[in-house]
């Protein structure tokens, strides 16, 4: 009896001590286990959504696929963890996932007090409102007295409180953890207004029983720079996420696509040669192969391709590039050079 107790005590103490020991580094861990564990949403069409066969696709998913392509030369080596907005940070902090790529807004609190690092912005967004046409409302400033449905654990629930207070309007927020519950409650009429990131409004609108009865109001009430997130204290991993995104943006700027990347290997442009790994050792510096960006572009595509495929005008979401166009085309999507 005493022996078992002792063993039990020692075992517990040892496992606690083991948990405390710092890991070798996320990249080494990921290489060892053979896949990237990617935290995504529980289903947001265009950003991270699984089809009937369980294949994930979307703008946010492409970041993870790009990372797998850079590390393993195989974009399919990703495993997904669907997370509610409320669960996502704990999952990342605790090491359950390697990277969080789930329409997550870069804010000061998250970047500092939560011990997280944002590796960049893959979609510049802002919060919007959706209402029933039958309300006869044309501006968010007419929403005084409204009941508003939204997600808990988001910047959204904070912004909406700020906005109504600043404009001296009465309101009531009905907040749920899961998006399906938010949309369901709004659809059944529990709320007059549904608010979330504008991109989310486009995506969730597809789930309403009668999408045509609803309109999105013109006001955008906040800045929501969405991007991939990692834990603080692992610069190598942080760099890899950041440069995966940068490579996709730079590729678009240079006109390199999944279709023509093969021919770019013999390009005369040194900047192109550096990106596709023919010159320099940028991949090595990141801890992966020098063909890292080549693999990303070949298997996932450049940023523009990913945008058009997942959320662009030809998709059900039908989102225009807007501010998410390249800086050279009137938007603010800008990546530092690879050199």
């Amino acid at each position: 009896m005493k022996k078992t107790l002792l063993a039990l005590g020692l075992g517990t103490a040892m496992s606690v001590a083991a948990a405390a020991a710092a890991t070798a580094g996320t990249l080494a861990d990921v290489k060892a286990k053979g896949h990237v564990q990617c935290g995504v949403s529980q289903g947001l069409p265009g950003f991270s959504n699984a089809d009937a066969k369980g294949n994930w696709a979307g703008l946010d998913v492409d970041i993870c696929r790009g990372m797998a392509a850079a590390i393993f030369g195989d974009a399919t080596k990703v495993k997904y963890t669907p997370l509610s907005s409320k669960e996502r940070f704990t999952a990342l902090q605790s090491g359950e996932i390697d990277v969080l790529s789930r329409n997550t807004t870069w804010t000061a609190t998250r970047d500092t007090a939560l011990g997280l690092n944002f590796a960049g912005v893959n979609y510049y967004d802002g919060q919007g409102f959706m209402v029933r046409k039958s309300l006869g409302v044309t501006s968010a400033l007419q929403l005084g007295g409204a009941a508003v449905c939204t997600n808990t654990g988001t910047t959204t629930e904070l912004n909406v409180a700020d906005y109504f207070r600043a404009n001296n309007m009465k309101f009531e927020v009905v907040a749920f953890e899961k998006s399906d519950e938010v949309v369901g409650a709004y659809d059944k009429g529990r709320c007059d207004v549904y608010t979330t990131d504008a991109s989310g409004l486009y995506a969730q609108r597809l789930k309403l029983t009668n999408a045509k009865d609803h309109i999105v109001l013109p006001e955008i009430i906040s800045k929501e720079p969405l991007g991939p997130v990692v834990r603080q204290g692992d610069d190598q991993w942080f760099n890899l996420v950041r440069w995966t995104l940068n490579a996709m943006i730079n590729a678009e700027e240079m006109g390199i696509t999944s279709a023509n990347v093969e021919s770019m290997l013999t390009s005369k442009n040194p900047a192109v040669l550096r990106l596709v790994g023919k010159e320099g050792s940028f991949g090595e510096n990141l801890g992966v192969g020098n063909d890292w960006a080549y693999n990303i572009i070949k298997q996932v595509g450049n940023y523009g391709e990913s945008f058009e495929r997942n959320v662009g005008p030809k998709t059900p979401l039908g989102i225009a590039r807007g501010v998410n166009a390249l800086w050279s085309k009137g938007g603010i999507m800008y990546a530092p050079p690879i050199r």
Binding site: A19, G115, G145, A161, E172, E181, R190, D192
Partner: protein, 401 residues
């Protein structure tokens, strides 16, 4: 080595002295627990530092920035995280207390109904118990919520539930009593009336034991508890008003509907949670009550009958008091279950202590602190319950004859 225990002398090795052995093992065990606890705490702190996550309880004083759909105390987005947590705690109490009262009443009725000689009544009770007890509670909560949202009239219309209030998708609206200056006198009168009623009951039972004379102490008590405060209320000039909900049916679409803040409202999230908790817990209480009644020896009923007591009195004076001894302990643990189960509220957006605490956790990022606070809350519930149960058991064993 093996010969030591065979020694014929009375001297026993310390190792085999049961008192020493138990002392040693207890010291070791306590030491291990203390060490484990110490390791846990220092490791947690170390890890939080390593992960550069802020820690400490200072965040409770910072501005929360979000609103909550229901709060029993003054609360808005300018309040602190600490207050948001309090709002959640009170919301848990609120649904738990009302739920416990209703589940007890329903549970007793169903428990007695299952023993009814009437075939239909006992069958209906059985089917109710068997079906609802076996459907996961979370599912029942969600289903009730969906049903409420589907059946309730839209925000700009309303239906009426006889005598209780008007309802639509925003909730069940009832009149609200608002106390005004001077109501405290009536408040004191209520306390005094309850004390008086209790004294009358004591006096009546003493007198009955001494002289055998009966006194309608229940009715007398009821009259005191209702009459005295009413009398005082009117004597002090009726310091209170009843505010009725107001329904606006014209003007811009958004203004139509029940006027926010006028009258009292039970929001649909609360109602769905309450229905589910009551209907689910009542099935267990019914089983406890049934078992309690069956545990009372049938001879007791027959003996009481032989003394000439009528059926109602037999149940009230002989069977139930004895059954209570069996019923109360498991009943308290059902109350505790109901309270703990109310944390499933999150699924439908009712801001209980788990829900509101969860939002605080997420917005502030202080997971460890919030989880500790929530654990302390539920641990306190459990400890209070078990203290009560121990007290009750002790009391019951004293009156045993």
């Amino acid at each position: 080595m093996t010969t030591i225990s065979d020694e014929p002398s009375g001297k026993v090795s310390l190792w085999y002295d049961p008192r020493v052995r138990s002392m040693v093992s207890q010291v070791i065990l306590i030491g291990l627990i203390a060490w484990g606890f110490y390791a846990l705490v220092t490791n947690t702190i170390h890890n939080l530092e390593r992960l550069k996550i802020a820690s400490g309880f200072d965040f409770l004083g910072t501005n929360a920035g979000f609103t909550l759909i229901q709060s029993l105390i003054e609360y808005d987005q300018t309040a602190t995280y600490g207050r948001a947590f309090m709002v959640g705690l009170l919301n848990t109490f609120y649904v738990a207390i009302i739920g416990i009262v209703l589940a007890t009443i329903l549970g007793f009725l169903v428990g007695v109904a299952r023993l009814s000689k009437n075939w239909v009544i006992s069958r209906v009770a059985t089917v109710y118990v068997e079906v609802l007890r076996n459907i996961p509670l979370l599912l029942q909560i969600i289903i009730w919520y969906k049903i409420l949202l589907l059946l309730a009239p839209g925000k700009r219309e309303f239906g009426n539930i006889l005598g209780i209030g008007n309802f639509n998708i925003t909730g069940l609206w009832t009149p609200k009593f608002i106390a005004q200056d001077g109501f405290w006198v009536t408040g004191i009168a209520i306390v005094i009336a309850i004390a008086l009623a209790w004294m009358v009951a004591r006096w009546a039972s003493k007198r009955q034991q001494a002289t055998g004379q009966q006194f309608p102490s229940f009715w007398a008590g009821l009259a005191i508890v209702i009459g005295l405060p009413l009398l005082v209320f009117f004597a002090t000039g009726s310091p209170g008003i009843v505010e009725h909900p107001e329904f606006v049916s014209e003007g811009s679409m958004l203004r139509r509907g029940f006027k926010p803040g006028v009258g009292f409202v039970f929001i649909p999230e609360f109602l769905a949670l309450l229905f589910a908790l009551v209907l689910y817990t009542a099935t267990f209480i019914a089983e406890i009550v049934r078992a309690g009644i069956l545990a009372v020896d049938h001879g007791q009923t027959e003996a009481a009958g032989a003394l000439g007591l009528r059926r109602g009195k037999i149940l009230r004076l002989v069977v139930i008091p004895q059954a209570m001894r069996v019923i109360i302990p498991p009943l308290t643990s059902q109350y505790l279950n109901l309270t703990k189960n109310s944390s499933l509220a999150m699924a439908i957006g009712y801001p209980d202590v788990m829900g509101a605490g969860g939002i605080v956790l997420n917005q502030s990022g202080q997971a460890v602190e919030i989880i500790i606070m929530i654990m302390v809350v539920y641990l306190t519930f459990s400890l209070v319950t078990s203290v009560f149960m121990n007290w009750y058991n002790a009391k019951m064993s004293l009156v045993e004859r």
